[in-house]
Amino acid sequence: MSTHQSDGGTARVIPNWESCIDCGACEVACQRTWDLPPESDRIQVVALAHGTEDETNKPMQCYNCAEAPCVEVCPTDALRFRDNGTVRVDAGMCIGCHYCGVGCPFGAPQYPDAEVPEAEEASPLGARGNGLMDKCTTCEPRQEQGLEPACSSECPTDALLFGTPDELSEKLEEDHVSTPFSDEAARIVFGDDADEIMGE
């Protein structure tokens, strides 16, 4: 498991929807780990193909896109790429304008109104309330301790995969599954590594 950016690129959590059983353990793990209120949606099990016979519920969260639209549209530079390639929101810069919410194709930005007690590790890992933008932090403090993000760590069916593009590609190949991303989505998420992940 990678905990930081390596030569293989940015480490991300991506879903393996074929294994997801919609148990909600990822949501609970996220909220419990970061002392978040139940209404927090840093990771959310959402309905796909809503209203059709194919309707299914799968987890979605911030993918720390290589071509992150949220970073592009943020007027205050509150959203930035960190050295390890992940996208972080600076609570001290965010003005809560929701531009990132309109720009993100995956519905990742959240704007919780509830004031959340500041965890010691919170800064600079999110706004966590008061209408400011909040999103998945990929559990960076856990990674620094050599741990996987809470959601992927506690997923009972390994439906959330964590790793660099190289590692994710290997895992997907081992499990004989494809990514949940279309070509268009993969280009946004993985940038130049999209072809590798998508298996060309």
Binding site: A49, H50, D54, T56, E72, T76, F181, S182
Partner: protein, 378 residues
Amino acid sequence: MATEIAFELPYTEWNWRIGVYIAMIGIAGGAYLTGYVADLLSARSNASEHGRIAKYGYLVGLLGLAIGPPVLLSHLATPFRAMLIPLTMTNLGSWMAIGAYMLLGFGLGSFLMFVWVAFGASRPHSPTVAEGSEGTLAADGGRDVASDGGAEDGPARAATGGTTGGIRGILERLGLVDRLDSLADYTRPSEPIRLALGGVFAIFAAGVLVYSAMAYGSGATERVALWDKTFLVPVQIFGGLGAGLAVSVGLTAVADRSVSPTIQNYALGAAGLLAATLAAVLATVFLLPEQVPAAEPAVQNLLTTHATLFVGVVVIAGLIVPILLSVGTVVGQRRDAVSATAAATSYAIAGLLVIAGKVALALAYLLAAEFTPIPLPV
């Protein structure tokens, strides 16, 4: 198998406040630009009548900024932080940051240009006491300054129409007239430089007008097909110019009781710009779904779920009726079939309807919009 994620609608991110903001800055930008054109034309002929449109154009620009940006700030989680623009708006790749700077320059410009043309003893376009005593203004539907008590109250008051009625009357009650007169006379540059500065500020106003379209944005992902810029930019530019001019004409007719032939020409100009807006809106309805199929559901939303707002308020009440009112009133005036009072009332109603239509258009574009889902294989 490809499937789609069901996202919330864009209106859950941006509510009515964004609509009011976008409408107000559009009207403000259009009013300033048409006012500036009138300011330039005043150097050629009939200075006082063109000057009225210039003055009220700058005022509408100022009022639009007094309403729109505060409404936007009320939408933000940290409005005071957002107001520290040089410190916070650092991503110049974002239209919101670009727009913030455009609004700053435009706000300064509309304030200065309004103060320079509306206050002070030596303001441009001012009807002279001699003109007033000859009754030319009164005959033209305007105020007879000499009989308005201005001449006895000093040159500034005489030059700007005395102390009764209009903007001065309101500001007099607030105790601001003397200060603004002093400020105007102290800061006003020579006429060529004033007009040149007005041109620089007009660039900011034009930027605000463009921003009123680009503010509907989602960056490179262009997730909202209804907000396709090929169609939206003409709607917002013509809409801003037409609404701004129509409101300026209405305000001129009411505040200065002026419905002169020059003002009539501006009313016709506003009607033409509103007709261009109508054409751009209709093009969006009929051509956008053909060229951008993902926009079809949102266009259908405009015509069904939000038909009352879009068809009723935007198209009929906000565009067609003001066009007919303006053109009909001008024709009536030129045939001596409409009194000056009725004409002023008509222009004022047209201006009010245009404001309602512009706000309704911005709201309709937010309410009807849908995110274009990214198909995901499951």
